[in-house]
């Protein structure tokens, strides 16, 4: 019984710890993701009509950018649907 209580308390504390760690990292995570997106956008400059680096830099990096391209895709798809996301990230209420 007392062991059970001890375990519950331990679980609760580690849960709080986890919650708070995620809280402290949340905006940094978002920023990191956006930066990866910007990185890809810059490389794909010619695609979006902004000044682009020499094409071969993109060509050299292309095979290494699988996760960035994934993010790029996802951001492109959701770029018009960000009001709610911003509300959540800035936890406005």
């Amino acid at each position: 019984m007392s062991l059970q209580i001890f375990k519950t308390i331990k679980d609760f504390i580690s849960g709080m710890d986890y919650v708070h760690r995620e809280k402290a990292a949340s905006i940094t995570l978002w920023e990191e993701k956006e930066l990866e997106n910007i990185f890809t956008i810059l490389l794909m400059g010619s695609f979006s009509g902004i000044p682009a680096p020499p094409a071969f830099i993109a060509a050299e990096l292309f095979p290494l950018l699988t996760s960035e391209l994934k993010i790029f895709n996802e951001r492109a798809e959701n770029s018009f649907d960000t009001l709610a996301e911003m509300t959540g990230i800035l936890s406005i209420d």
């Binding site: 849960g15 709080m16 710890d17 986890y18 919650v19 708070h20 760690r21 995620e22 809280k23 402290a24 949340s26 905006i27 940094t28 995570l29 920023e31 990191e32 993701k33 996760s67 994934k70 993010i71 996802e74 959701n78 649907d81 960000t82 009001l83 709610a84 996301e85 911003m86 509300t87 959540g88 990230i89 800035l90 936890s91 406005i92 209420d93």
Partner: protein, 569 residues
């Protein structure tokens, strides 16, 4: 009595969560863990990591909980504690939590797209655009309402601004420790909490006394500056400290309420129309929706739930705990507020020399409260009294009061500058149609600083000159209008996509729309004329916003009914 109500509240929430909530989950949403959630579909181990239910719950709750669920119930006490409590409990269980849960689940089934997107998809494109306008108005009114709360509180309790200032310094240091130096996280957290405690103590020693207007000017500049600096310098570490403050305050409050065994001195019921908004008799129906927003129902939650939470949900069965459960927890917070004010409010006002009894409560509560312990101060003082009435009385009452004050102030202050960040963005979206015809004007208004100053200025100006009992309900109208659109969107999702019984959402949604629209009409026709006479600039600004919102409300409902039976594309 305090104990009975709190325990009863917990029981009501748990029972209804298990019955009504579960039925929603099984019959209406048809949550099924075989459906992949967006976080699982996009999983890459880096960003799209599905969060475990308790973590996401903590995250979501911290995002939706703010100062609003504390302030609304304080005002609603004018009706007596029973009507206030009824709306918090039943509004929450049958409308507010349903609203949050549906927004979350619709978004999950829509690949993590927001309620705004779902609304444009299911109703009309125009509905999506309405969100920008409503959110923009809401942001201005939030700045106004919270600015007024803070102004009053800072003057009343000069220890709080000083503690808050020290907390900002603590947050700046913590930001360096966590995000620059990359110190061990646990150690940094301990240092952060110690600094927070030091700030609270420091505030009690070194109060800062300034006039209300001076605080407004400071707030204006604070909003502009704080929303311009990188997030990990101030915003992120401060939010992190806030989250500790929130859980700590809630924990102590729950303990105190359970163990205080104190009778209620406030009347259970006063009158259907006590004096409340703008010094006018305020009818419980429809005005209650404007007074208690966050504690029982808030449109912002649909945005938070569908904006970030839906992208992290691990499995569909977690949705109920997070979407529905977090909202009930927020209702519990409002319950604590009602209990503490009902238990200790009367004595506090009398001790400040106010002429208030249970007999004249209906006519004198609002005035006495605003004069002696305005808005949040009523809560912080009652909360401190409630803690002092228990075995927790080893903590000095003054310190408890500062902790409670910091709790409210931190959330309100955070809202001011995060609101301004979002304000810039919505402002730019609203201005977009201007781009084609008046490009130079468009460029001027969407300039980062201009777009930042405009909402901050209007908001602070309203707080400066306005009457709080006007600003608070107008903030409520914007918030509840979003809620009613989101809930109708949820209903239409259930009807069109789910093919299940949409009456669970449709009935409360229509009821809500009717109530909110009636409330706006009542507020515009009955309350505002007096304000316009007394204070033309505030009155007319609010009037314009209300009329635009009223038009939007009708545009929306017409669109909704027209497209209700449309086949899906």
């Amino acid at each position: 009595m305090t104990t009975i109500i709190v325990v009863l509240g917990i029981v009501v929430y748990i029972v209804l969560f298990k019955t009504y909530g579960k039925r929603l989950e099984q019959n209406v949403v048809k949550a099924d863990n075989n459906n992949q959630t967006p976080s699982a579909r996009m999983y890459d181990g880096v960003d799209y990591v599905p969060a475990k239910a308790p973590v996401l719950f903590g995250h979501h709750f911290a995002s939706i909980a703010g100062a609003a669920p504390i302030i609304g119930p304080v005002l609603a006490m004018a009706w007596g504690w029973v009507p206030a409590l009824l709306w918090v409990w039943f509004g929450n269980i049958f409308i507010g939590a349903v609203h949050d849960y549906l927004a979350l689940m619709a978004s999950v089934r829509y690949d993590g797209k927001s309620v705004q997107f779902v609304a444009s998809d299911l109703i009309t494109k125009r509905t999506g655009t309405l969100f920008y306008w409503l959110v923009f108005f809401l942001l201005i009114l939030v700045i106004a309402a919270f600015g007024a709360v803070l102004g009053g509180m800072f003057v009343r309790t000069p220890e709080i601004p000083s503690a808050y200032l020290m907390k900002i310094i603590a947050a700046l240091i913590l930001g360096v420790l966590i995000y620059r130096v990359k110190m061990n996280f646990t150690l940094a957290t301990i240092i952060g909490i110690l600094m927070l405690a030091l700030a609270i103590w420091g505030g009690s020693v070194l109060p800062i006394k300034l006039s209300k207007n001076a605080w407004y000017i400071i707030m204006f500049f604070y909003i502009i500056i704080a929303s311009a600096i990188p997030v990990n310098v101030l915003l992120q570490p401060r939010d992190y400290l806030n989250s500790w403050l929130l859980y700590f305050g809630l924990f102590i409050g729950a303990l105190a309420a359970i163990f205080s065994f104190h009778g209620f001195s406030a009347p259970a019921f006063t009158s259907f129309s006590p004096i409340l908004s703008g010094g006018k008799p305020t009818p419980y129906f429809p005005a209650i929706v404007l007074i208690i927003a966050c504690g029982s129902l808030s449109g912002f939650h649909s945005l938070v739930a569908s904006g970030t939470t839906s992208k992290q949900l691990e499995k569909e069965s977690d949705g109920l705990t997070i979407g529905y459960g977090a909202m009930l927890t927020e209702g519990f917070l409002s319950t604590l507020v009602i209990v503490s004010v009902a238990g200790f409010g009367l004595q506090l006002m009398v001790s400040k020399g106010m002429n208030i009894t249970t007999a004249n409560w209906a006519t004198n509560y609002t005035g006495s409260m605003m004069k002696s312990l305005p808005k949040a101060a009523m809560f912080t003082a009652s909360y401190a009294q409630m803690v002092a009435a228990t075995w927790l009385n080893f903590i000095p009452t003054k310190i408890v009061q500062i902790i409670a004050g910091m709790w409210v102030a931190s959330f309100a202050m955070t809202t001011l500058d995060t609101t301004n960040r979002l304000g810039r963005y919505t402002f730019a979206e609203i201005m977009l149609p201007m781009k084609e015809k008046h490009e130079s004007a468009y460029n001027f208004f969407t300039n980062r600083w201009i777009a930042s100053i405009v909402p901050a200025f209007i908001g602070i100006y309203l707080a400066w000159s306005g009457n709080f009992t006007i600003l608070w309900p107008s903030f409520g109208t914007a918030n509840q209008l979003i809620a009613s659109i989101a809930l109708l969107t949820g209903a239409s999702w259930i009807a069109k996509r789910q093919g299940s019984k949409s009456r669970f959402a449709l009935i409360p949604a229509y009821l809500l729309w009717i109530t909110v629209t009636a409330a706006i009409i009542w507020f515009t026709a009955v309350v505002l004329p007096g304000t316009i006479k007394a204070n033309p600039v505030t009155g007319i600004t609010v009037l314009i916003i209300e009329i635009v919102m009223l038009i939007m409300s009708f545009v929306f409902i017409i669109d909704f009914i027209k497209h209700k039976d449309d086949a899906l594309a």
